[in-house]
Symmetry: C2
Subunit: 533 residues, 2 copies
């Protein structure tokens, strides 16, 4: 059990609902405003007028952080402005479930007036209060959006209570990106989660993008989605495979959506792997200059990688993903049930990205995979925990660097050579994850030779990948075919490529390396023939 | 002459350079930190420690606003954090020329240490100062980017002085959008302005997008751009006209750029009208998930409209601009010299968008056009002032609403019916501005009938448009052809369209209107045959 934090404007029902949640979960309850008043021996209004808002915020911040770090699991009702502090908000997202409560301004005013308490940021006439609450709502919109879920309280609180408890039980991974925030649900067999998530967006119409394989393998899920009758729907079924991640397929989505006469409240749903998600996301980002989309990833790779981070696009004859955008989904539901119909080879390939994020960010996850080996694929509960952790790690990286200007570059580990290997194989011979597995090992060999990665890490990583059923070494022919594609890397700047290289298990640094070092260095000569230790 | 405001981190040279600028321009000089110390009788460090940062910022804000509003033209060196206040920063952008000074962190530290003064936000060891300056630089990047120009001061200050004076002399229109900020130069015959602006971006390569007409009419400008040797360049010449604003042309830009092996420091240059700008901007927004672009608009319409606001895209068989993105250019240079080779009809069409922005936002500009009539086209100095004012107005609207969620909707006035008329004419019979002129008059007729626009405004607007050489009334045939395209409007939400309607000259309100009202109402029946009063 984790702590529950309730946030929202004054009058949104945090204190009342907080006590109800605490009672239901059998947890202690703290209202930070009341606790501050108890500690200071003065009311919040008195603190505001005597010390000023900054001093009050400092007290509030200190209390909130203390409540998150003392090891006690509880329900906390924050003050209205508490989560506007970045440190507090991020700590709450990491420490428990953060739920934002909302209600129409008129309801907030009525409740606040009825409570009869002095609200230091309001005061004055009802009209002035409405105006001030609207301003606060606007100013805090980005902070309030960064949460695990939003619950409306303009209705019987018993119903709102059930919604809060459902969010706490689901405990989705939060992807906090201001007003572009969204959550990722990691579940195992619950089609209603997807339809609920989509219904919450109140779509005017749905464009469901999938591929022929998925439409067949997951036909029950697709049917239940359409049967839910959420909005007029159009299904676009693309030919499967990376070889079809091309402009004509994107154009087919545009044509279907625009032929349907969509408006800006339409929502694109992507049901499939990374190819479907990337193309559907790209189409959504460009239809009417950007509409919303929901990702329903059906492969392990797209669950842990493609569905988190907002990268969209398609392949160009000169290289992979060279045309695209950054466009965040509105919701992601990763349902492990989809893996039951996924070929084993694809499931194994998906583990390559899990190894990547573990090796670059989290030693504990890496060691967990070393201990489990291929058995992690047999134990669905274990697999769900691993998938969830990989998504959390990626979300943690992306939230600090949405547009790949810095930290996020570590996610490209294995991809400089891996993408080239995949391109060299013309997207048909190797799955993306298979190419990335080889790319990681090849880049670690380079890192070891340059003294940038610790000696032995290449061998250890190769052993883990092989234990998971992945080939660690490309053939000489594969490397030769890959070479021409190294220069097309998006991360190239002039004659250098920025290559992330692990400096230890769970740590990674980005190095600008000469393109020539990759093209003509030992990697493309002796490496493929060197035996794995 | 306008005031000059210098901003930047401590040690960036604001005080020294400010005094030099003031001496050259013969203006009084104020350093806000010194002025605050004089007023308070205490040093900034003492004020910080005794009153705290918020109280200091309040003093600083009040002083800055006073200096901008007392009617005295002067040079002001702001404190390092002064422009982080939105109100102060926007007031400075409106009141004069705001220049940001920058230098490497090490230079800032050396200068600050040499000055020997106590800096309240720094202190401690040189390493701690470097760290703190880096943090401040990051935290303030968005605010510092909102300015009329940036000048590096890590060199002899005499050279930096000349750069500041050049920015003051140019006085570009600032488009303040945080780190996506850019400026629009409005000039008359100076090709070096474009090459200087592009050179400042340090591009790794250039993709110059133009069309066959422009490449011929402005061949000297194109040649001088290529001759400048700024970076390896590739010219993509598209077939001219709205009829070619289609996916195959966008794909041609993608192919040319990727065939060139561009990296993320490549820059797309659009030399042409709105069609070239929209497609080139769209290609830039999607190449490698977004690279920079510079707009060199060559038509009056694209100068006042298409080059400001970041809308990019292309037409789809189901309607205009239905696929696109929001992507801000890095710089826009509107050179009126291009108009010398533009057909008269296109110049007149461009005035339609000037009338639109005047009618919705600025009564003075509308009345100025009524007084001048078509003579505004003969007087280049007057025309330059009109173009500059129209761009300022659009920038003012866009800066408050980048993504068209509210205020920006007023810019769609005339476009609901205008776009449909243009689509009905299959993009070939009517220029965009010509269709918008008719759209404005038709929408005003609707507004008058619904009592939402004042009686007589339709007639007055029609008279102005006709005085400028534009047809105000579509034919019956044009209206009939337009009808099927009304429903494809991007602004449609369900059965309603949000239609902006002027409530007076210079003021506008957006109304959600039934689509049926536009499709089957009097507009598409009796209106076209009603005589202009």
């Amino acid at each position: 059990m984790h702590s529950v934090f309730l946030s929202g404007l004054m009058g949104s029902g945090k204190s009342t609902l907080g006590a109800m949640v605490a009672a239901r979960l059998g947890l202690p309850f703290v209202d930070t405003d009341r606790e501050l008043e108890r500690e200071a021996g003065r009311t919040v209004a008195e603190l505001f007028s005597s010390e000023g808002e900054p001093a009050f915020r400092a007290r509030e911040r200190a209390l909130a952080l203390r409540l998150m770090r003392d090891g006690v699991v509880r329900v906390v009702a924050f003050g209205g402005g508490t989560v506007t502090n970045d440190e507090v908000r991020h700590a709450a997202l990491d420490a428990g479930t953060l739920v934002t409560l909302r209600a129409p301004t008129e309801t907030l005013v009525a409740r606040t007036a009825a409570a009869g308490s002095v609200r230091p940021l309001l005061g004055g006439s009802p009209e002035a209060m409405v105006q001030r609450l609207r301003e606060l709502s606007l100013a805090r919109a980005a902070a309030y959006a960064e949460c695990h879920g939003t619950v409306g309280t303009d209705r019987p609180l018993e119903n709102a209570l059930e919604d809060v408890l459902r969010i706490v039980a689901r405990r989705p991974v939060a992807m906090p990106l201001g007003e572009r925030s969204y959550v990722v649900d990691v579940i195992d067999g619950d089609p209603s989660r997807s339809t609920d998530a989509i219904a919450a967006l109140r779509p005017s119409s749905l464009i469901v993008v999938t591929d022929a394989n998925v439409a067949e393998a997951r036909k029950d899920d697709l049917a239940s989605l359409l049967r839910a009758g959420l909005a007029p729907s159009r299904v676009v079924t693309l030919p499967p495979g990376e070889v079809h991640k091309t402009l004509p397929q994107v154009a087919a989505i545009w044509d279907a959506a625009l032929g349907q006469g969509i408006d800006r409240n339409a929502v694109v749903i992507t049901l499939g792997g990374g190819v479907v998600g990337d193309m559907g996301g790209f189409a959504a980002s460009t239809l009417l200059r950007g509409i919303r989309f929901v990702q329903l990833p059906t492969t392990l790779l797209s669950m842990v990688d493609a569905s988190v981070g907002g990268k969209t696009g398609f392949d160009h004859p000169t290289g992979k993903n060279l045309v695209g955008t950054f466009h965040q989904p509105s919701h992601v539901v990763a349902d492990l049930a989809h893996l039951s119909t996924l070929p084993d080879r694809e499931v194994r390939a998906g583990l390559a990205e899990v190894v990547k994020i573990a090796l670059t960010c989290d030693a504990a996850l890496f060691e967990d995979l070393e201990r489990a080996g291929r058995a992690v694929l047999e134990d669905r509960t274990h697999l769900q925990a691993v998938v969830r952790r990989a998504i959390e790690l990626k979300a943690w990286v992306v939230r600090q660097d949405e547009r790949e200007a810095g930290l996020r570059e570590v996610l490209n580990f294995g991809h400089t050579i891996g993408h080239a290997v995949e391109s060299g194989a013309e997207y048909t011979q190797l799955l993306h994850g298979e190419a990335i597995a080889m790319g990681m090992v090849a880049e670690l060999a380079l890192g070891e030779r340059l003294g940038l990665s610790p000696s032995g890490l290449r061998g250890r990583t190769a052993r883990l990948l092989e234990a998971l059923g992945l080939r660690a070494e490309p053939s000489n022919a594969e490397m030769v075919a890959a070479r021409p594609f190294l220069g097309a890397d998006k991360k190239r700047r002039g004659s250098h490529v920025r290559v992330p290289l692990p400096s230890a298990v769970g740590a990674c640094t980005v190095h600008p390396l000469e393109l020539a070092l990759l093209e003509d260095g030992p990697n493309f000569g002796s490496l493929p023939s060197a035996p794995v230790p």
